[in-house]
Symmetry: C2
Subunit: 494 residues, 2 copies
C-alpha cells in the first residue's frame, strides 16, 4: 500500500550527510519542512558538542520558518544559504560572516540549479499533503522550487502533513518551463491559466523516507493596517484611478503585491472600497488579505507560488476548500516570477523599499550597504517587467532617526533605469520620463519627510555645483553622509 520507509524526524535527519546540499520546500514561511530540520539541528548540536564537524548547504524557495532557518542557524548547521531568508538568527549569522549567503532573484533560482550555474541539491526535504506509490506528490502551501528539487535530487525525504487533508488537492500547477535550446513559450496568458499537472511525478525509488507531521506554518495573524500604510495605500489607489481616467491604464490588469504591511494595506483598501471592481492577483506570495477580497466578492483569481495563512485563515480555507481553491493557483516560482508571463499579463507591481534615493534607485535588501535584511526576493522579477511599478515605504523609520529617502542608496537593487513610481505617506512621485534632476526635486518634494527635506536639498544644490557632470549630479564625497551620520550618532538627522 505505502511502500516508503516511514521514519521519525530524527531517523530522517540521520540520513543527511556532512556538507550535503539540501533543497527544501517553503516560500515565505509557507509549506516549509518543520520536523526534519529541527531534528537535524538537534543532531548537529550533538555532533558539535562531541567536537565533530557538521554543516550543510541549504537551498529553498525563499524564507522558511524558525523551525527550519532559525533552528539550523542556532545550531550552526548552515555553511551556505540561498536564495532568501527572513529569520533573525540566520540574518545575524550571515551578517557576522559565519554563513555564506547568495542573495538571488527568486525567479532565477530554479533555473540556476537546473542549468548547473548553482550545484544541484542531492537531498530534497519537501512538505507534502499526499504521495502515491508510483511517485505522484502533492505539495502543501507553496510550490517554490519544490518541483526542481524533487526532480533533480538523488534522494527525497517527505514530510507528509495530514493537517490539510485533501483541501489543497488541485490547487498547484507544477509546470516548469523547458530549458534552452529546446524551450517553447510558457502557455500562461491569463492569471488562472494552467500549464501542467497538479502533482509532481518523480521516481518513487528516490523516496528514502516519509515523516508524518500535523503542524501548520508559523504565520502570525493578519493585523489591521496602521495609519501610515493606509495613507500609502490611498495614494496608490488614487493614482491608479487617475491613470485609468487618463486612458493610460487598461482595466483588469493583475496586481503583484509584495510581502508586508503596506502591500496588505493596499489589498485591504481595495477589499473595503465599494466602488472597487473585482481584481486579479499575479503575484509571488498570496497574503492573507486575499480572504477579505474573497469575502467581499472582489477577487477574480489569484496566482502565486505561496499562500500564507495564519491558523484562522487556514481553518477558513479548509472549511470551504472546494469553492475557494478554484480561485487560487500555486505555481513554481520560475513561472510565478517569470519575466515572460509578467510582461505578457501587464502586471502592476507594488513592492516595499528599504530606502529610495533622490535619483530613482531603490535599496530593498541591505542596511547601510553591508547588513542583509532579508534579500532582494522577487521584487526585481516583477518591477523590471511590470506595466506599472510602485515602490513604497514609510518616509522614516526607527522613530524618525532614519530617512527612507537618501541622497544615494547604500545598495542598489533596482536602478534608476526601471523604477516608475515612489510612494511614502507624504505623497507619490511619478518618475516616468523624468531626467535625474527633475526626479530629485520631485522625490524630495513629494516623498521625503519634511524633517529631512532641507538636508536633501542642500545635498542636491551642493551636487549641482560640484559634480563633474550635471546629468546625475551626485557629489560622491557626500553621497553617503546621511548613512555615515547614522552609523556614528544613531540618527540621520542633523
Amino acid at each position: 500500500m505505502f511502500p516508503f520507509p516511514q521514519l521519525s524526524a530524527a531517523e530522517a535527519a540521520e540520513l543527511i550527510r556532512p556538507n550535503e546540499i539540501v533543497g527544501v520546500s517553503g516560500f515565505t514561511l509557507a509549506g516549509y519542512p518543520k520536523a526534519v530540520p529541527q531534528a537535524l539541528a538537534e543532531r548537529t548540536e550533538r555532533l558539535h558538542a562531541n567536537g565533530e564537524e557538521f554543516q550543510i548547504t541549504l537551498f529553498s524557495g525563499a524564507s522558511t520558518g524558525d523551525e527550519c532557518d532559525g533552528a539550523l542557524a542556532r545550531a550552526h548547521a548552515i555553511h551556505w544559504r540561498a536564495p532568501y531568508q527572513s529569520n533573525k538568527n540566520l540574518r545575524s549569522a550571515i551578517n557576522c560572516g559565519e554563513v555564506h549567503y547568495t542573495d538571488a532573484h527568486l525567479g532565477m533560482m530554479g533555473r540556476l540549479v537546473r542549468t548547473g550555474a548553482l550545484p544541484t541539491p542531492t537531498t530534497a526535504i519537501i512538505e507534502v499533503t499526499d504521495v502515491t506509490a508510483d511517485g505522484k506528490i502533492r505539495l502543501s502551501m507553496s510550490c517554490g522550487n519544490s518541483v526542481e528539487f524533487l526532480q533533480r535530487a538523488d534522494r527525497v525525504i517527505l514530510e507528509l502533513n495530514s493537517l490539510y487533508g485533501d483541501a489543497l488537492f488541485g490547487m498547484h500547477d507544477c509546470y516548469l518551463p523547458e530549458l534552452p535550446p529546446h524551450a517553447s513559450p510558457i502557455p500562461v496568458s491569463q492569471v488562472l491559466d494552467r500549464a501542467g499537472n497538479d502533482f509532481v511525478q518523480i521516481d518513487p525509488k528516490k523516496i528514502v523516507g516519509v515523516v508524518r507531521t500535523n503542524v501548520g506554518d508559523s504565520i502570525r495573524p493578519f493585523t489591521e493596517p496602521d495609519a501610515i500604510s493606509q495613507t500609502i495605500a490611498g495614494h496608490i489607489l488614487e493614482f491608479l484611478a487617475h491613470e485609468r481616467k487618463k486612458g493610460r491604464l487598461p482595466a483588469n490588469l493583475p496586481y503583484q503585491s509584495g510581502v508586508g504591511n503596506v502591500a496588505n494595506a493596499v489589498l485591504t483598501a481595495m477589499a473595503r472600497d465599494s466602488k472597487q471592481e473585482p481584481v486579479s492577483l499575479f503575484t509571488e506570495v498570496i497574503q492573507e488579505a486575499v480572504f477579505e477580497l474573497i469575502q467581499n466578492d472582489k477577487l477574480v483569481g489569484a496566482s502565486g507560488t505561496a499562500l500564507t495563512c495564519s491558523s484562522n485563515a487556514r481553518e477558513y480555507l479548509k472549511a470551504d476548500a472546494n469553492a475557494l481553491k478554484k480561485k487560487f493557483i500555486l505555481r513554481a516560482q520560475e513561472v510565478s516570477n517569470h519575466p515572460e508571463v509578467i510582461r505578457r499579463l501587464g502586471v502592476i507591481s507594488m513592492n516595499t523599499a528599504l530606502e529610495l534615493d533622490i535619483f530613482g534607485n531603490v535599496n530593498s535588501s541591505h542596511v547601510c550597504g553591508s547588513s542583509i535584511m532579508n534579500g532582494i526576493g522577487g521584487a526585481a522579477d516583477f518591477s523590471r517587467n511590470a506595466l506599472l511599478g510602485f515602490f513604497m515605504t514609510p518616509s522614516t523609520a526607527k522613530d524618525g532617526t532614519i530617512s527612507a529617502v537618501v541622497p544615494y542608496v547604500s545598495h542598489v537593487d533596482h536602478t534608476d533605469h526601471e523604477t516608475n513610481i515612489f510612494v511614502t505617506e507624504q505623497g507619490l512621485a511619478d518618475l516616468r520620463g523624468l531626467d535625474p534632476v527633475s526626479r530629485a526635486r520631485l522625490i524630495i518634494d513629494r516623498c521625503a519627510h519634511p524633517a529631512y527635506r532641507p538636508q536633501l536639498n542642500v545635498f542636491l544644490n551642493y551636487s549641482l555645483n560640484s559634480a563633474k557632470g550635471k546629468h546625475i549630479p551626485i557629489a560622491l564625497d557626500r553621497a553617503f553622509n546621511m548613512h555615515l551620520r547614522f552609523l556614528s550618532t544613531g540618527t540621520m538627522a542633523e
Copy 2:
C-alpha cells in the same frame, strides 16, 4: 503612381512644430534619417539667430549619426532626448544640463510609448528603402522603434534612400508583441523564426512628405582587434569550452554581443578558430564582424534590431544580397531585446562594462557617477535574462590612470544579484553562487590590474574591520575614494 508629396529636406524640416515630439528611425548609427534632421538643425539655427525659440523632443531606437544627434545638438534644437545616444556634442549638452535625457532600457522604450508611460511622438521621421501607394513601408538598416513610431505618430516623413535598391527587402520582421491585457506568447523560439511581415503597414494618408536620399550610414570601417581585446576574447572562449566540457552549457546557444571592440574581438576570434562550430547570434546590433563569420562558414543565422555596415561591408552585402539576407532578421527592439525570447533561447550575453566593483556590481553608463557616457542601452535586457552573461573591459583606462575595478561602482546598472562572469585582460572571475566576500577576493585577484590590487585589498580589509555588517563589507566612508582621487588628481593611483 506615387501619391505622396515629394519634398526637399528643407521643406520637410519646415513641417516640424516647436516643442513637438519627434520619433526617428535609427539604432546605433544604423538606418537613421540624415537629410531632414540636418535641415531641421539649419532651420533651428536660423530661428535662434532671429531670437525665436525652437526646440523638439527626440525619441529614437538608440543612437543616431552625427547628421542627426550631432547636428541637432549643435543647433541647440533638442529639449528632451530618449532613450540612448553616443554623440560627443549631444553628450556634452546632456552633461552640462542643457538637454534633458531619459536613459532607458532599450527593450522597454517602445512599450513605454505604446502604453502611454512616455508621450507618443506626433511626427515620425523614418529612413526607408521603399513605400507603396497603399502605405506598405520597408525599413533600412535598422528596425529599432520605427514600427511603433510609424503606427502611432499622426504624421510621417519618410527619407526614401535609394542606396540599397531592393537589397534589404525581406530582411525585416516587423512584428510587435500585443499589449496587455490581451497579449499572447511571442512566436519566436529559434533565432531565425519570423512572426510578422517584412513591411510596416500604415495609413498612407499620414505620409506628409517623402524626401529622396542616397547616402549610407556613417559607420567607420572595422578595425582589427587590439591585443587586449584579443586576450579578453581568449579568456571568454576558453571559459565557454570549459563549461561545455563540464556539461553545464548546451551546444548551440545563441550569442548576444554588445557594441564595441571587445565584443567584435570575440566574434572575430570565433570566425578564425578552425575548431569553432557555426554560431547563431540573437543580439541587438549585428556588427560587421558577422561578415567574417559568414565568409568562414561559421554563421547559422543572426537576429538583431540593427545591422551596422561601413561602406565596404555595405557593398559586400549588396553584391550578394539574396544569399546573405537569408541569414539575417532585423526585428523591432521590443522583440530583439525581450526577456521572454532571451530567456527562451538561452542567450549567452557579452557586454562591455565601464567599471566593475569588487562585490559584483557593474556600471555601464556614467563616468564618476555623474557624466553620461552613452546610456545603459540593451545590456540589462540581455544580461538579466541570459543563460550565461559576461561583462568585459580592459582592467585600466586612460593610460592606467583609471582602474576599471573599483571598491564600489559610481553608478549601478547591473546589480550583484544578476551578474555572472567578469573578464578583463588580466583574467576571468566566475561569480555564480559566491557570497560577496568571496567575490571580492576573486575579482581583485583575477580581474584587477596588478597596480591596483594593493589598494583594493586595503579597502577590502578596512571594510571587513569597519563595516557594520560583514555580508557585503563595504566601508561607506571610503567607497568612492578611488573616484575622488581621480577627480582631484587625475589618477586613481596612490
